[in-house]
Assembly symmetry: C2
Homo-oligomer: 594 residues x 2
């Protein structure tokens, strides 16, 4: 298995240059200064490299197992989880009053990127717990918060999201799990599938957050309510009681993330699983939606994380493996061959773009919650809403492509499981599917984020992009970046206008271009991030405010931004046509000719 | 596991409309008329669907095993192979005088596409035998041909290609396996890896074709010779004798094609494996090169095959699975959603393009061997040389992308192994690697096929593409296809001129754009195929020479060609920039900043 080293140089670049970390730290009230945050990154990098990364390959080979109704995670997962909890890592972005550290989200993103890069299968457990905390913090009543939150923040217990049923995947409104009130208590019955860490041996309790329909509720999404269904019942004083009426009936055999148990769960085979209603009956789906931005950004970040891990593996193989000769006739390493070096630098530039974009959106997420000014909060929330499907879908698609590039650089060796390249490809493939498939993200972008708001936020974002053009105009060295970005922004502007006009009268035609539009959006947003990064790097170098040891990083950023412009951005403008070609031809072929 | 039905309608379209089958049948002397060829396709389709396809999933789950030095293929593989041999399928494209059927290659391609779509792991065994037959037919002496060929053509024995060693992958000149002549016999010693069907339980003998260096030969590629090293020694009368000094030491655990044993082989642990020199000492690599076009086309065809299989699975799931609602509020199948229908039709259009291209190149391969006129043979060979790396790399990359699209259409279910979608993705991933990685194909295209011939064949091909424009100009309905194709042809022409000029003075810069250039080439060549197909379909429909039951196929072709133009071809022109951006920036980042 390969090593992982947290890419601290690029993470720090983003946190120092693209994000206003001091302001965020003040807003979150974490009480940690820049030096302290730096220390957090160093320590997280160490934990990821030394504790989590070594379990990645073995966890994949061993996989989670179900025996006698008990789920066991791979060897070492439990010990790593205990160390994680002891280290206080679980509550990194949780409020201080719940025992968390309230770190600014961009920093928490960097740390979470490390966990996922080191061991995505393992990291899914705290990732799900995070979503559960967010839900209960916002929608649980005082009693529920008191009994559940502290243990979840600490990591003593973990959480799951139980949405999917065999007939209800993307169509979550089709859920049929039912909760019936008997003697003042909800009893829940139903079958849920694809429940990540639905059971395991890492913690003392698993708190399931379950979407179900209260007996007699209306069909469809509006009849759904949210329930807490703990594996082990939790008493009024928070103590653990009897085992609830629920069990894991199957673990899925999956393409990847083998170490993460994906469970089929049955609730209420006996007298019914005891369930606590969260908030109002019928508001289950809106409650889930409040967590959606967070969860989707977290999944997008998995794309960044595995891309980075794959890049590191490709780089070290390409710098080591000797095959063939240079044009001058000397023995060449793979990295000396132009075609391989091109691939490495495309990977690198793409990663920098999606990382920058994800962290920048995370900053807006903090501002949406915490900015002093209400207008700023609203504006930030609109940006987060708009860009979340872009980050989720684009970063996961790019993550998969980069994992595939790593495999390719390894040649035949990449196809052999022992190398580990194939595992990254297998693991990351799920990220384009779960938490809303990337097709659903694209439709969300068109329906809710564009059409739903008359395109207001998109237009502001386009104005922000146009501002880059003015900045770039002052730097001759970045002329090609300026030109490619302008072409991309033009295409995105044109596609946006077309989408808004078309969605109003013919949603089918608009949705026929949704996936192409989202990719166009992601490529251009990435170009904007790289342009901003290049301008900052140039400023630092010119003003000589970059520390001597960092100058190489700033100089490299100027190059990777131009590589992004030359080799990646041109795809953007080419998506205008596909995004706006409508649905007529798609409907012209009948099912019998498909 | 999912069913497979040979896509006879589209195969027949290509064979009837894009290829001159009557002429080819006359040239090969197969003595089979159109009705007979049709019958072959029907029967092959039945064999693929009924015998091979049902073993695809089970073969994947079970995998090949090595126990006590013996390799065992999955349950059912042997029986299928026996039926295959009995049916006379193995020698389909071999000369009649060797017991083959001498079918025109486009027909043999169609049949081979069926085997690979039905069961790629199984099909690798006859695929390798085919390469061995080609080599011995061309370069073996009379005695070798007499003793080996008939059994290989019949399928009683199978063949392997033993090239790769741990230090010699893409760099085949680094081979260190050595043959020493003792008492008039070559004794061979060395270790080979990645040997497909290096041993198995399907046939009575395995004929290894091994690249090795005769003791004292010069280092590098020119010192390599080709040897026949049979698993069981073959006497002067062709009878089987003692076991040779070779064995399988390991099977690789791979991402996919689990049913196909990928062997590490050791030759000569004892007194040395008895080996027969093929042809001249030192000509081993040129001999291998004579088989390269065939083998690379066969691998490209695997891209077509798995793409088709994945498409069929996606289509049947999308037509069945109900999720969400139509814009009118009715329950919708996935195929009713514009985004999914778009994905299906992109898959469909891409498959038609790469299938057409592969079969058309196969026609040229027949003409290169058999055309009456020597100039025509030379021209056809030049076309095959030029287009082979394009078919190999582009069709395998597209095949992988399509397999991934199928998985995506399945959502969470696609990530579960039992569905079978993941297997197609895992299986096809190797095709971009073996038989020369796709990066090597791209370099071959630039170095040998363009620069090596001063661009002559590429210019003729571009002239052929320009001819399409004149044809398309007469059909208003195909205006967008004409425009997109013209843009693609312009970009390909510009990139070709740049490559020729650049390769002459700075090969490193040319090779930095090789992969983008190849993809540009593949997209435009596919567009040309679709344009030609659309013109033929339109002609048939207008002249009312299409049989009534085929009119739907011809009408659909007019639509898929336009979908290719609207949704796929625009990528082509966008590759001109990346293909011609050179190596300067790639070299501007030092290894320490990678």
């Amino acid at each position: 298995m390969t090593a992982y080293n947290a890419p601290l140089a690029d993470m720090r670049f983003v946190l120092n240059e693209l994000v206003d970390l001091d302001r965020l730290a003040a807003l979150t009230g974490c009480g940690i200064d820049r030096g302290g945050l730096d220390h957090v990154l160093d320590e997280a990098g160490r934990f990821a490299a030394e504790v989590l990364a070594p379990l990645n390959g073995t966890g994949d080979a061993e996989g989670a197992r179900l025996a006698n109704g008990v789920v066991m995670t791979p060897n070492g997962f439990r010990k790593a989880y205990e160390a994680f909890v002891e280290g206080g890592w679980n509550g990194l972005s949780c409020p201080v009053e719940l025992g968390g550290s309230a770190l600014p989200r961009p920093v928490a993103m960097a740390v979470s990127e490390m966990w996922n890069a080191a061991n995505m299968a393992w990291s899914l457990c705290p990732l799900l717990t995070q979503s559960g905390i967010g839900l209960l913090e916002r929608h649980g009543n005082a009693d529920q918060r008191r009994r559940y939150l502290r243990n979840l923040v600490h990591g003593t217990w973990t959480a799951t999201m139980c949405l999917t049923e065999p007939q209800a995947g993307s169509d979550v409104g089709a859920v049929t799990t039912v909760a019936a009130r008997r003697d003042g208590v909800y009893r829940l019955r139903g079958r849920k599938i694809f429940i990540t860490y639905g059971d395991h041996d890492l913690a003392a309790n698993v708190v399931h957050l379950v979407l179900a329909r209260i007996e007699g509720a209306t069909p469809g999404p509006r009849g759904l309510s949210l329930f807490i269904v703990p594996k082990v019942l939790v008493g009024t004083n928070g103590s653990l009681g009897a085992h609830n009426d629920l069990r894991v009936t199957r673990l899925e055999r999956k393409l990847g993330i083998h170490g993460s148990p994906t469970c089929e769960m049955v609730f209420g085979e006996g007298e019914g699983a005891i369930a606590e209603l969260v908030g109002n009956a019928g508001d289950g789906l809106p409650y889930m939606f409040t967590m959606m931005n967070n969860a989707r950004l977290a999944v997008g970040l998995q794309g960044v994380a595995i891309a980075e891990r794959a890049y590191q593996q490709a780089r070290s193989y390409a710098l080591e493996r000797v095959q063939g000769r240079t044009p001058e006739g000397h023995p060449a390493r793979l990295a000396d061959h132009a075609d391989v070096r091109r691939t490495l630098l495309i990977m690198r530039a793409e990663i920098e773009a999606i990382r920058g974009l994800a962290y920048v959106v995370a900053e807006q997420a903090d501002l949406a919650r915490l900015a002093e000014d209400q207008d700023e909060r609203a504006r930030a929330l609109a940006v987060v809403d708009l860009l979340t499907p872009v980050v989720k879908a684009h970063a996961t698609d790019v993550g998969f492509e980069i994992a595939s590039r790593n495999l390719q650089i390894h040649g035949g060796a990449g196809y052999i499981e022992a190398t580990g390249a194939a595992q990254h490809l297998r693991d990351i493939r799920i990220a384009s599917i779960y938490e809303g498939t990337n097709g659903i993200q694209a439709q969300d972008l068109i329906r809710r984020k564009l059409a739903g708001q008359g395109g207001k936020t998109a237009q502001s974002f386009l104005a922000l992009l146009a501002q880059s053009d003015t900045d770039l105009a002052t730097v001759p060295e970045l002329a090609s970046l300026r030109q490619r970005l302008a072409e991309g922004v033009d295409a995105l502007g044109g596609a946006t206008r077309w989408m808004l006009a078309t969605a109003a009268r013919d949603m089918d035609s608009a949705l026929a271009g949704a996936s192409d539009y989202l990719r166009l959006f992601g490529l251009v947003a990435g170009g904007w991030v790289m342009a901003t990064a290049a301008m900052r790097a140039r400023y630092r170098l010119a003003a000589e405010t970059a520390a001597p040891q960092d100058r190489g990083v700033y100089q490299a950023k100027l190059i990777t931004a131009r590589i992004y412009a030359d080799r990646i951005l041109p795809q953007a403008a080419a998506l205008l046509g596909p995004a706006t070609s409508g649905a007529v031809l798609l409907r012209a072929i009948g099912d019998e000719q498909l």
